[in-house]
């Protein structure tokens, strides 16, 4: 068994998940490909969303993949970092907005 949970080389093997369930694997990759096509959002905008989400879910494969994808699309490092701050702001905000729940609870319990 490998000594670490993540191996960068495994990203290249992503497609192999279909080997153990061809039908669902095929459906997933077809859906995946369709999602990233140009639509109401540009493929470029979708790539930045994917990069931000990759950091939110802290998926090392996705971070590698969408950093590379962004570079291919001419996305600058400044744009990438801004996208990450959006992710961080939502993530941080999600913690802090629960502060209202805490405050409600404190206000209810305290005399």
């Amino acid at each position: 068994m490998q000594k670490t949970y993540y191996d960068p080389a495994d990203l290249k093997k992503f497609g192999k998940i279909s080997e153990w369930n061809q039908e669902l694997g095929d459906k997933f990759f077809e859906y995946y490909g369709k999602v990233f096509e140009e639509g109401s959002l540009s493929a470029r905008e979708k790539s930045l969303i994917a990069l931000a989400v990759a950091h939110t879910i802290q998926c090392p494969y996705c971070i590698d993949a969408y950093t590379g994808d962004g570079l291919q699309r001419g996305i600058t490092k400044e744009e990438m970092m801004e996208a990450l701050h959006v992710a961080a702001a939502i993530r941080g905000g999600a913690s802090l907005v629960h502060g209202v729940q805490m405050m409600n609870k404190v206000n209810k319990l305290e005399m």
């Binding site: 290249k12 140009e38 540009s42 493929a43 470029r44 590379g68 994808d69 570079l71 291919q72 699309r73 001419g74 600058t76």
Partner: protein, 351 residues
């Protein structure tokens, strides 16, 4: 930022033999990745053979005012290989009789050849449909004697094709040298001011995009849209088409890939993106590349790897288009660069 060519630095990679060794050993020798020959054989496309000639590309010398980090020519101010007037005359004799619809002058910076203007004037008289000069843009601003190049190009209805790796200063200068972005913008403005690149103008101005690192270009049409919007909004600059060209793993780009430990991943990326449809339109099948000393190659990359055409005809002085047609194209693993994704050629995507 590098300031000298691999040749000047006496790097081992200055030798084409060393580059070809690297491209044939390691992951391609141990079977981890298929050789290009085996890959195209899978789809019944080996051997690649030359079709009717469409593009005659002439490299008038390796001297350049820039030292770009990805340059497949290993060009720079320290390169002294320059086409002589005698060889140019031999090229002119060929140009007069060629069936090619495109004449493509490249370098180095072709404008630095002392006989460049004479050559253009003479070649333009033949009236080839599309007469391209690959200008690096900064040469137009490098010295007063080049300031009139936009007017000169206009006079001979030259199709100007220029490199621009990004619409931002940081990415451009990192690949092409400090100050290149600003000088390129000034040069593009000069070209626009004489009519180059303007909508509906017959004075064609196209840009070439090379990725500024170990990654492949994205979709050419999307990149063109982004380039057009950014250059228009930020600098009021216009151009016609963007050619997205994949960096081939040779010369200075190969040196960079190895030094940055990206070589294997890059080769994997090229092989994974292999597109058999692109093989049908690779430029070597409709191009002849002529070197500064008059020798003939299937493409500019093979010229730099010193892989001459597989034909009885080897030199511009013995040129024979009929004999060259049908020749087997000389290939190695660098060819994966032209068959990845939407394919890549000096005219951009092919598939």
């Amino acid at each position: 930022m590098i300031t000298k060519s691999l040749h000047k630095r006496e790097s081992a990679l200055a030798k084409s033999k060393k580059q070809l060794e690297i491209l044939s050993n390691g992951i391609f020798q141990n079977g981890e990745l298929p050789t290009f020959k085996n890959k195209i054989a899978e789809s019944g496309q080996f051997p690649l053979t030359a079709k009717k000639l469409e593009i005659l590309q002439i490299n008038v010398g390796y001297m350049c005012n820039q030292v770009c980090s990805h340059c497949h020519v290993d060009a720079g101010p320290d390169r002294k290989e320059i086409m002589t007037r005698e060889t140019m005359q031999q090229c002119l004799d060929v140009i007069k009789n060629t069936g090619a619809h495109t004449l493509d002058l490249t370098g180095g910076a072709p404008e630095m050849n002392p006989n460049f203007r004479w050559f253009v004037e003479e070649a333009a008289k033949v009236g080839i449909k599309d007469f391209i000069v690959r200008s690096n843009l900064t040469i137009i601003r490098a010295n007063k004697k080049y300031y009139d190049l936009p007017e000169f190009f206009k006079k001979y209805n030259i199709h100007v094709v220029s490199s621009m790796p990004h619409w931002t200063r940081g990415k451009t200068d990192k690949q092409r040298g400090d100050g290149v972005f600003d000088a390129s913008i000034q040069a593009l403005k000069m070209l626009n001011s004489v009519g180059y690149g303007m909508p509906d103008s017959d004075l064609k101005l196209d840009l070439v995009y090379n990725p500024s690192g170990a990654f492949l270009p994205a979709n050419q049409a999307s990149l063109e849209k982004d380039f057009k919007r950014a250059l228009k909004d930020d600098f009021d600059i216009q151009f016609h088409n963007l050619f997205a060209i994949t960096n081939l793993p040779i010369s200075r780009f190969l040196d960079y890939l190895i030094a940055s430990e990206n070589y294997e991943d890059y080769m994997y990326a090229l092989v994974e993106a292999y597109n058999p449809t692109a093989v049908k339109s690779v430029m070597c099948t409709n191009t002849i590349s002529v070197s500064w000393d008059g020798y003939l190659y299937d493409c500019d990359f093979n010229q730099m790897l010193e892989l001459p055409v597989n034909s009885k005809v080897k030199h511009i002085s013995d040129y024979n288009e009929e004999l060259l047609e049908g020749r087997n194209i000389v290939i190695s693993q660098h060819c994966y660069g032209c068959t990845a994704g939407a394919g890549s050629s000096c005219q951009g995507s092919v598939a």
